[in-house]
């Protein structure tokens, strides 16, 4: 039975947060647990209406810690699950986000970035959570974070986030910013049948042979679902291939290294970028989120003025798409990294660069977006 809010497929005027919610439904998400927070609440409001129509479940929990816990529980019981929040709530989710990493529970967390630290600027845009997405939960762990720059991408990358989380059994973070989340744009959502949806691999061996955390050639063990006959132990402790806590050195490291390897051996699949005129460019803007839109405009205007500017739009922020940045630094192009923080991705660009090329930054933390004009001025300054 197809349930569609818009019975006539065609252009729609959607908000980023709404597109994100629709993307989740298209990906097969049937469970949402969340807590009200600006500027992410529209996702919860939207799904509180849509999920029960589809026999799904929406629940408003007592806080974000509980929301993330419920998401993990529902996923372990076999239902694709998501939560959505903003910086302060994202901080509270870090504890259980780490649990999802170590227990390898597919889950999607949308973080609509607003100004921080603390309560900060609830209604203003920011990109201040880039590093929180990477290192917010304690301990060494890999993570996947995707960053949409348009309403259309809010839909497609939410689908992607679910697919990655199911394929690699890992939490995936969708880092949107307040501009993208609240912007309304014309989008044409694909027919539900036309969306590529990936589901987790379940065990096919008899239950008595099942080793829930066994290494596989892909690096991701098949996932048993509660109630389906594969009784096993799920824990936040470091565990052996049977899922039982271990303190053995020869079990600890192989397990933790596998968590890294299951992501690092699939960079080709996970790291998404878009390149615009980087080949002949003297200066390449490296941007993401709503800033990538301003950067694109600045690039077009600079080109009209005869300045050879290119754009590398980062879609995957973590794992950092090093292999796309490195060739630019080797080609000795000037890199300009505009971002609505004090330099979280530029730091990563500089780390990749190792001092080879010049890396310029444009940082803004006054609660307003970065305009094309500001980027253009920075380019002109550089080209003087």
């Amino acid at each position: 039975m197809k349930i569609s809010k818009n019975p006539d497929p065609g252009p729609e005027l959607l908000q980023g947060n709404e597109a994100c919610a629709e993307g989740a439904l298209a990906a097969g998400c049937r469970f949402f647990a969340g807590y009200p927070i600006t500027p992410a609440s529209e996702i919860a409001e939207y799904l509180s209406r849509r999920l029960p129509e589809m026999d799904g479940t929406f629940i408003q929990m007592e806080d974000e810690i509980a929301s993330m816990g419920a998401v993990i529980g529902a996923s372990l019981a076999g239902v694709k699950s998501m939560t959505a929040t903003s910086g302060p709530g994202f901080s509270l989710m870090q504890e259980n986000l780490g649990f999802a990493c170590i227990a390898e529970v597919p889950s999607v967390v949308v973080d609509v970035m607003r100004g921080g630290p603390s309560t900060g600027l609830p209604t203003n845009p920011s990109q201040g959570d880039v590093m929180q997405a990477r290192w917010g939960t304690h301990g060494d762990h890999p993570i996947i974070a995707l960053c949409p720059s348009s309403v259309s991408e809010c839909f497609s990358l939410t689908v992607k986030a679910f697919n990655f989380s199911e394929k690699y059994r890992t939490p995936v973070i969708l880092l949107t910013d307040e501009v993208v989340a609240h912007m309304r744009e014309k989008v044409v959502l694909p027919d539900p049948g036309a969306v590529e949806v990936i589901d987790r691999v379940k065990p096919s061996v008899p239950p008595e042979w099942y080793l829930p955390y066994e290494d596989t050639s892909f690096g991701v063990p098949p996932m048993g679902i509660f109630g389906e006959g594969y009784r096993y132990h799920v824990t936040g402790l470091v565990h052996d291939i049977r899922g039982f806590p271990t303190l053995r050195q020869d079990e600890i490291e192989p397990f933790l290294l596998r968590l890294f390897r299951k992501i690092s051996t699939h960079f080709d699949d996970i790291q998404l970028v878009e390149s615009f005129f980087t080949e002949d460019a003297d200066l390449v803007i490296v941007a993401y989120g709503s800033v990538a839109r301003s950067a694109h405009r600045a690039m077009v205007e600079a080109r009209a003025q005869g300045i050879k500017v290119g754009l590398l739009k980062l879609i995957t922020l973590w794992p950092f798409p090093r292999s796309f940045v490195e060739p630019l630094t080797r080609a000795n192009k000037v890199l300009l990294v505009p971002e609505m923080n004090m330099g979280q991705i530029s730091r990563e660009v500089k780390r990749v660069n190792q001092g080879v090329a010049r890396v310029k930054t444009l940082n803004k933390i006054d609660g307003t977006l970065i305009t094309p004009k500001e980027i253009l001025e920075k380019i002109r300054e550089e080209k003087k």
Partner: protein, 298 residues
């Protein structure tokens, strides 16, 4: 008493290395025995039971038993359990917590789970102290009692876990001790069978920390204290407050009916479908469809 070792053995995980982490004489194992007997009497299959725990001595319980087991983060067991139950309502979700786990770090989740009245059973082992981390004072350490972080005696007032659960809206609240094992068996069984959020507080001993720091004797002495201090609810009603000092009630503190979360949410689903114009299948149609699908398969 009958030898129930074969019964217990049936539910243990044999590929998990024993001995367990608990000190000899700990009450958690006694509680686990009661829980297993209750599960066996009711007849739940191993596949339909999900045992969820937090962090602490009690948090280690699920790893030993052959169910779907989930050892979560400190204080958060109820939140994970909420997700499991909502996603698969047919599962029997049992949550094991300690006093610090359930009422300090997890206090907020505890009262909201009780208020929400989702069909979960919470079993809280109350030994008045943080055992695993070395005997620090917990929300149930009585005023004046010593702990490794209260060497001059605690200056905080303690929570009454069962009363907290009653006030927060739990539909079934029972309190037992690991001394009164038969009563505990019954309380856990009733809690498991109750529709809605049920709580069993299990008074237990931590002789390693609480007993030692407060000079209460060994585990046997402490269990004798449970025997002498526990007053049946019915009897306690007739006693004066001063007679109840240093004593506690055991038995069923509340057993009442309230709308269960899942029943209510199913109504939300019906309304949402009606509002969206989704054809709602009646029970007969659903059965008819199932029959058709089944015959298609043949």
């Amino acid at each position: 008493m009958n030898d129930d070792r074969p019964l217990i053995y049936k539910y243990l995980r044999h590929d998990k290395k024993f001995p367990h982490v608990w000190c000899g004489g700990c009450g958690i194992g006694i509680m686990l025995g009661s829980l297993i007997r209750a599960i066996d009497r009711i007849g739940y299959t191993k596949d339909e039971v999900v045992m969820v725990s937090g962090i602490g001595c009690s948090g280690r319980l699920p790893v030993y038993v052959d169910f779907n087991t989930l050892h979560t983060t400190h204080g958060r067991a109820l939140t994970f359990a909420t997700g499991v139950k909502l996603a698969k309502p047919d599962l029997k979700v049992i949550v094991i917590m300690g006093d610090g786990d359930a009422t300090a770090i997890g206090g907020n989740h505890f009262i909201h789970a009780a208020r929400r009245n989702l069909d979960l059973t919470a079993i809280i082992v109350n030994n008045n102290i943080y055992g695993m981390t070395g005997g620090q004072y917990s929300p149930t350490t009585p005023f004046g009692r010593r702990a490794s972080t209260a060497v001059y005696g605690s200056v905080e007032h303690s929570f009454n876990i069962s009363q907290l659960a009653v006030c927060a809206g739990a539909v079934f609240v029972g309190r037992g001790t690991v001394y009164h094992v038969r009563q505990l068996d019954g309380l856990i069984e009733k809690a498991l069978l109750k529709s809605g959020f049920s709580v069993v507080e299990v008074i237990s001993q931590c002789h390693t920390h609480f007993g030692r720091l407060n000079k209460l004797g060994n585990q046997i002495e402490m269990m004798k204290w449970q025997r002498d201090s526990a007053v049946p609810v019915e009897k306690a009603l007739k006693m004066k407050p001063e007679e109840m000092e240093d004593k506690f009630e055991v038995g069923i503190l509340v057993d009442r009916e309230a709308p269960n979360y899942l029943e209510q949410y199913n109504k939300v689903r019906q309304k949402a479908k009606e509002a969206a114009g989704v054809p709602v299948e009646s029970k007969e149609e659903e059965e008819e469809n199932e029959r058709r699908e089944a015959s298609d398969r043949h």
